[in-house]
């Protein structure tokens, strides 16, 4: 069942089948285009239409109730199609409806020639293409690939062939399907689209294959944060390959070329259909397409009368065009890499954020801040990553949606994300704006000996340090550890050792010890109350003052940059000793203010006048070391350091030790190490070495020997 419509044709109402009408319209349009340069073109077309109307009339008179497709077809063939107009046939040839132009001459293979008609350099590959009946572009690509692989010896072969082979004008032969670049579906140069068309596969497949090595190359170097994956050999050569393919493979410009690219039958009908498809696709540029159509028609007209299918191609690419192409490819690759960098940064931001997640309860005290926190995470960090991924995937697959709503949505969400970030920082920094301080004095029993020793004990409970172990490879570059912050097992409390010891001269002849606690909050009174909540018990046993080596905050006391200063006033003539553990204290200030949050970290415990682990005597002029130059100095600090590091090393290498006990006795030179390990092939190793020479280097040597033993024990 077909739709029949009424048209006003040459002043008459004619009922006609809808498809017949379409064909008629196309035909008349084709006439208009054909005669567009003729003087009196309107008259000519009108005359022809008139004739058509006459013929319609005859048909109707003959009994048809409407004009059918067959009628139109017959009429069109009797009047003729534009490309046939210049022909006059002498004999009783009836012009056929579809002039099947077979460009596929069965030319004999003949000998191997150079093709002078289709040459990029010397026409060698083109000649070989004709001889082997393979598409020239394929031969060129192969040639280039082999040339690169053989480090240029193939070029020599090319020159030899150039010299040897005679050149000939080889007409186009059998090639049915040619490798072209597809300009309609191109992202950069259309190379991969063309390849996809030739092999009849989805366009995203070659794109993915090309991009995968680049992506992997980028991610492999992720942890260095220096992105030069182009120097990564594999992906670099891919870029080069792409550029070469771009230069070598021709672009499918005309309709017939585009059809060759897809392997469709190149004849009038299919060309016409193809052009019509294109016209319907691009409704905006009607004029441009009309010119294209006219041009195609003209081309076809000339080609029919000359039996030449291909128009001459420019012999070589312009040098500047090539450079522009190279530049464009590089820009695209670099943009892609930048996008990947952003992606990587975003993911690491997420990782960092998730590692710090347990801390949020200590800072956050309101729903609003939590809300901002989540908002930041989702909108600010995740949204751009997702948007980027989506964009990349769409480009690779080749989806071409014109809707901009996706871009707008993502942008809007990201702006909200910015808002969340700002608010997050504002609210958090508010919590650290003001500082408050509480000073407590310690009930001290004056030591009998006149010497006071400050020792630090371990806090009860198990605490673990927070570290970011991103890549499971004991790579020190990216393993960070938050110093001074240890998290309890249940993740409900933090152990801080934000502490300082201050020694001052006492006004009288007694020791005085004060504990100064500090904290920050949005108001001074809040800060003071937070400071007060710091739990810092002090105990005294004779001349030893026992202090905690850290203090705990939980989600009730919150993290508010709590600090503890132990102020010891030493009277003149009395001695003071601070335990070495004081070296481990951290000191940092987190200040919130108008400009936001600022964090000062004081890594070096560089008190000017004294160091922990030594005895000092307070004199009139200040604190002084006890012991002169001739005292054997073990420089135990360094050793302590090394011991600490040794312990770290052992822990990292996951040596399961029962116990390790290194004792360095004061003014002594014994290193006493007991290592017992769980592993079956380890035995208890116990070394007691006695060095005659009490110099520092000997001790270090001993220690290193012990370390080596340890390594063996693994």
């Amino acid at each position: 069942m077909k739709k029949v419509i009424n048209i006003n044709f040459q002043g008459r109402v004619i009922p006609i089948e809808e498809p017949a009408y379409e064909n008629l319209k196309k035909y008349v349009d084709s006439l208009r285009i054909y005669f567009s340069n003729e003087e009196g073109k309107d008259e000519i077309v009108n005359d022809i239409e008139n004739r058509i109307a006459e013929l319609f009339n005859e048909k109707m008179k003959a009994g048809a109730s409407f004009i059918t497709e067959e009628h139109v077809e017959a009429i069109v063939s009797s009047i003729g199609r534009p490309e046939q107009f210049d022909e006059i046939s002498m004999k009783e040839e009836s012009s056929s409806t579809s002039n099947n132009y077979t460009g596929y001459t069965d030319a004999p293979r003949g000998n191997l020639f150079r093709n002078s008609k289709d040459k990029l350099i010397g026409g060698v590959c083109s000649g070989m293409g004709a001889y082997f009946r393979i598409d020239t572009s394929i031969i060129r690509v192969l040639f280039v690939l082999i040339a690169f692989g053989s480090f240029g010896t193939m070029f020599l072969l090319y020159i030899i062939l150039w010299a040897i082979l005679p050149s000939k004008d080889i007409a186009e032969t059998v090639v049915r399907r040619k490798l072209y670049r597809d300009p309609d579906h191109k992202v950069i140069g259309g190379v991969l689209s063309g390849i996809a068309q030739y092999f009849n596969i989805q366009v995203w497949i070659p794109r993915l294959i090309f991009l995968l090595p680049v992506v992997f190359g980028v991610f492999k170097n992720l942890e260095w944060f220096f992105f030069f994956p182009l120097f990564n050999l594999f992906s670099g050569s891919l870029v080069l390959t792409y550029i070469i393919l771009w230069a070598v493979i021709p672009k499918a410009v005309t309709a017939s070329e585009k059809m060759e690219m897809k392997g469709e039958r190149v004849d009038l009908e299919s060309i016409k259909n193809k052009i019509q498809d294109e016209l319907q696709g691009v409704k905006k540029n009607i004029d441009a397409n009309k010119d294209q159509w006219k041009q195609d028609f003209k081309e076809r007209a000339t080609s029919f009368s000359q039996e030449v299918k291909e128009t001459a191609r420019p012999a070589g690419r312009g040098f500047f065009r090539f450079i522009a192409a190279v530049f464009k490819v590089f820009v695209f690759f670099i943009l892609g890499i930048v996008a990947l960098v952003l992606f990587a940064l975003g993911t690491s931001a997420i990782l960092v954020g998730s590692a710090l997640m347990p801390l949020k309860y200590f800072i956050v005290n309101s729903v609003l801040v939590q809300f901002y926190g989540w908002g930041t995470l989702l909108l600010f960090i995740i949204v751009p990553i997702v948007a980027l991924l989506v964009y990349l995937i769409r480009k690779i697959i080749g989806v071409n949606s014109r809707s901009a709503w996706l871009g707008w949505t993502f942008s809007g969400l990201w702006i909200l994300g910015w808002f969340s970030v700002v608010m997050l920082f504002v609210t958090i920094s508010k919590e650290f704006k003001r500082s408050g301080q509480v000073k407590e004095s310690v009930q001290l029993q004056q030591p009998v000996s006149g010497k006071l020793k400050l020792m630090f004990n371990k806090t009860a409970g198990k605490f673990y340090s927070i570290d970011f172990d991103f890549f499971e490879d004991n790579d020190d570059d990216l393993n960070a550890r938050v110093e001074g912050l240890k998290l309890s097992k249940q993740e409900d409390s933090l152990l801080l050792n934000n502490m300082r010891i201050r020694l001052e001269k006492s006004m009288d002849d007694s020791f005085h010890v004060y504990i100064i606690k500090r904290a920050r909050a949005s108001s001074t009174s809040d800060a003071e109350s937070f400071a007060e909540q710091i739990n810092f018990p002090v105990q005294q046993v004779d001349s030893i003052l026992d202090l905690p080596s850290g203090f705990v905050v939980n989600d009730k006391t919150k993290f508010r940059n709590q600090q503890v200063i132990v102020l010891v006033e030493v009277p003149v003539g009395k001695e003071i000793y601070i335990d070495r553990l004081a070296n481990n204290f951290n000191w940092y200030n987190i200040r919130g203010g108008v400009r936001g949050l600022s964090v000062d970290i004081d890594d070096d415990y560089d008190e000017v006048s004294w160091r922990p682990g030594r005895w000092y005597k307070m004199t009139e002029s200040g604190i002084e070391r006890i012991g002169g130059e001739d005292e054997i100095e073990l420089n135990t600090d360094d050793l302590e350091d090394r011991i600490d590091r040794l312990k770290d090393e052992i822990r990292k290498k996951e040596i399961d030790l029962k116990s390790i006990d290194i004792k360095i006795k004061d003014k002594d030179t014994t290193v006493d190490m007991h290592i017992k390990s769980n592993a079956s092939n380890h035995k208890a190793v116990s070394t007691e070495m006695d060095a005659e020479d009490p110099s520092r280097s000997a001790n270090v040597q001993i220690l290193f020997r012990a370390l080596n033993l340890l390594k063996l024990a693994r």
């Binding site: 003729e38 005359d47 009368s305």
Partner: protein, 134 residues
């Protein structure tokens, strides 16, 4: 070289002349003209004829009038103008001269040969290789 190309060129040359001669014999409209040509085994397409007629009309060699038709739309009937007649006379002379010359050229044995020499002839033409008619 393409033989059809050459043949087509040859035909194109004489097309105008043929059309004009048909119209000269009597007022004709395009379908008529095509019929006549067909009778002479010269097939041309309407799409070829129409632009040609228009060109000739624009050159003032032809004129036309509309004639109402009982069956279908009105028709254009073409006839030669005075200028057209003169034009035709010129072409006629040219044709006769040319054919004579061509005959002479293709018969390589030279002048003075008796008629009846083998050679290509257009169909329906008298065998008068060397006569130059007025």
């Amino acid at each position: 070289m393409n033989i059809e190309n050459t043949q087509s060129q040859m035909k194109k040359g004489v097309l105008e002349f043929c059309i004009l001669s048909i119209i000269r014999r009597g007022e004709a409209y395009p379908s008529d003209i095509i019929e006549e040509m067909k009778k002479a085994d010269l097939n041309i397409l309407e799409g070829t004829l129409y632009p040609l007629l228009t060109r000739l009309k624009n050159a003032d060699l032809l004129s036309y009038r509309w004639v109402e038709s009982p069956s279908g739309p009105p028709r254009k009937y073409f006839s030669l103008t005075d200028k057209g007649l003169a034009f035709y006379a010129e072409l006629d002379a040219t044709w006769k001269t040319m054919t004579a010359a061509v005959e002479r050229v293709i018969n390589t044995k030279g002048e003075g040969l008796p008629a009846g020499q083998a050679g290509t002839r257009d169909e329906g033409r008298e065998e008068q290789p060397f006569t130059v008619d007025s």
